[in-house]
């Protein structure tokens, strides 16, 4: 089903609303993907530029979840950044220390879990960030990463087991 074309001003209002609603969420996801605050901010900016340019696509397709559509753009942007990064050995602990001061208390196990997720291979990190951190459904996660639900399921299973192995002695999830 095709949507009616959205007039320019309404498009601007929509983008404005998205920027207000989702910028922090996209910035944090990009940061966890890229481990670099500056690059995450650039990727967030690029996400909005691409979203604006692809408004036609958004209107043509029946997008039911704006956030998932925006996260797809953000993740693809981060992939581009990763491919174009020149050289990078990242001490993620330091990267986290360099962030602006936390507004809420952080326990040692929060740091451990964050570092463990940041250290996951990209394919597993993606699904953890989308499915668990951003709260997307299995189907939405599959759409964002352009894979089947079976693939997402397989990667989630693997990612969960990697997390649990890494976190043994730290946080335990088994009931």
């Amino acid at each position: 089903m095709e949507r009616a074309a959205v007039p320019g001003m309404i498009r601007e209002q929509k983008l404005n609303q998205w920027i207000e609603d989702y910028s922090d969420s996209i910035l944090r996801t990009c940061f966890l993907y890229l481990s670099d605050q500056n690059q995450a901010e650039d990727a967030t900016q690029d996400t909005w530029i691409k979203a604006w340019k692809h408004m036609d696509d958004y209107e043509r397709k029946s997008i039911t979840n704006d956030k998932a559509w925006l996260l797809r753009i953000a993740i693809n942007t981060c992939k581009d950044y990763r491919r174009s990064a020149w050289f990078r050995h990242i001490d993620r602990n330091k990267v986290l220390d360099e962030l602006p001061s936390q507004l809420i208390a952080v326990e040692p196990e929060d740091r451990t879990l964050t570092l463990t997720i940041m250290d996951l291979p990209d394919r597993y990190k993606q699904v953890i960030l989308l499915y668990y951190f951003q709260g997307l459904t299995m189907q939405e996660t599959a759409e964002v990463i352009g894979a089947s639900q079976t693939t997402v399921q397989r990667r989630l299973k693997k990612a969960e087991s990697l997390l649990k192995v890494e976190l043994t002695g730290g946080v335990t999830y088994e009931g």
């Binding site: 404005n16 910035l27 944090r28 670099d36 879990l113 964050t114 394919r123 999830y173």
Partner: protein, 430 residues
């Protein structure tokens, strides 16, 4: 079924850890303005503000019409950096070919890094072509090694015109590229020396049909993948070649196809990123149909170095030798060698975890660095880093700091404790 407990734990931990990482209202305004090219309509705007905004828009539009996507749009941080701004060259060279036209708008060479901006417009209904950028710098008779360090579209290992990646549209109207001279022993005399830059693009065309693999790329080293998985993955590219089809991976990269097609094994020994393209060109899938070439001569801006060799001891006993410092109008490049006196054990990355070095430039703002560590055969650790700076400086300030205090020092743009103050090392540049 979603593991709710895991979901809560992940959301709690990540949101706590990243609770300080938020966009500001100013940033969100910038996001909007940069995305739409306009400004948000505020509830109350004075007539004067409207007039000023209108004048600014006219100025920006006139600038855009003159030069297209400019260096300062690619590197807006440098807008107030007078030496940098003054050395931007308007080139406006256009090449028109069978498959696309390309225009180089502006370039700037700071003595270490050349930046250029360009746009590419694909021809309507033209076949897709694969573009290989080749950038050379010549100083007198000597060709210098160059390396693309950053670009706004993926460029360093070749790219498709138009973009072939599903669901992705690259912004070919607004391309910015940074290229460094990778040999840091090269020095120029800014008053006499000129560097000739040549930017060329080989245009590779194929008559073969182009297809995408549906299979995920196995990642070597991941436990779930075996050698046979990788062999299976590779075999589809070999099969495609035998069937005279070009097969791209899921993100339209040509490298798996290029690596899988038959080639002289001796090329493997010499293969360096991205020389797989040379392998591709020995086969019959692609031919270079055209070559877009641009050239210009640039006067390098002065590059400063440390006046004298510098070595110092970190509080944990590690010895830091500053092997090279190069400071241009917009960046600091630094190479350090770190050793552990009296130890016969090679240094490991873990040995450099508790302490680090904060670097500032006197009179200029320093951004976060791009850092690379690598262990050396002699047991030392190499630390290479580049910082962007937004103005000229005559002095660098190095402060050995505890890793956990690094962010405080960066926020403060200087020492936060008396001990750090006492450890501060000032390096005069010339």
């Amino acid at each position: 079924m979603k593991d709710k407990r895991l979901e809560q734990q992940i959301q709690h931990s990540l949101n706590a850890e990243l609770s300080g990482l938020n966009t500001t209202s100013w940033q969100r305004d910038q996001f909007f303005e940069n995305a739409t090219g306009g400004t948000k309509v505020k509830k109350k705007i004075s007539v004067v503000a409207v007039l000023i905004a209108a004048l600014m828009l006219i100025t920006i539009t006139a600038f855009a019409l003159t030069n297209g996507f400019g260096i300062l749009e690619y590197h807006p941080d440098q807008s107030a950096n007078q030496a940098y701004v003054d050395s931007i060259m308007a080139l406006n060279q256009t090449w028109d070919g069978k498959y696309f036209s390309a225009t180089i708008h502006e370039a700037v060479f700071d003595g270490m890094k050349m930046t250029f901006t360009m746009s590419i417009i694909p021809k309507e209904n033209a076949d897709p072509v694969f573009i290989i950028p080749r950038i050379t710098a010549t100083h007198g008779d000597k060709e210098l090694h160059t390396f693309i360090t950053h670009s706004s579209v993926i460029m360093d290992d070749g790219f498709w015109i138009p973009c072939m990646e599903p669901d992705v549209a690259y912004d070919f109207d607004n391309i910015g590229v940074d290229v460094i001279l990778s040999d840091d022993s090269v020095t120029f005399n800014p008053t006499d020396d000129q560097i000739k830059w040549e930017i060329s693009f080989d245009v590779l065309h194929t008559d073969w049909p182009i297809d995408y693999t549906a299979q995920d790329e196995p990642m070597i080293g991941e436990p779930e993948w075996t050698d046979s998985d990788y062999e299976n993955y590779e075999s589809q590219f070999v099969k495609a070649y035998e069937e005279k089809r070009v097969l791209l991976n899921q993100i339209a990269m040509l490298s798996p196809f290029a690596a899988a097609v038959p080639h002289d094994p001796s090329m493997e020994d010499e293969m360096e990123y991205p020389d797989y393209i040379e392998m591709l060109l020995t086969q019959d899938a692609f031919v270079i149909e055209e070559k877009a070439t641009f050239s210009f001569v640039a006067d390098p801006l002065p590059v400063k170095h440390a006046k004298q060799p510098v070595s110092f001891e970190m509080p944990d006993g590690l010895l830091v030798h500053v092997e090279n410092i190069s400071v241009s109008a917009d960046q600091i490049g630094m190479k350090l060698r770190i050793t552990k006196p009296g130890s016969d054990q090679p240094l490991r990355l873990e040995d450099w975890q508790n302490w680090t070095i904060a670097v500032f430039a006197q009179g200029a703002e320093t951004k976060y660095p791009e850092v690379n560590y690598s262990p050396d055969d002699d047991g030392s650790l190499h630390y290479n880093a580049y910082w962007t700076i937004t103005g000229e400086t005559d002095q660098l300030i190095l402060i050995p700091v505890e890793a956990e205090l690094y962010s405080d020092v960066i926020k403060n743009q200087g020492a936060v404790t008396e001990e750090q103050q006492a450890r501060t090392i000032r390096i005069d540049l010339e």
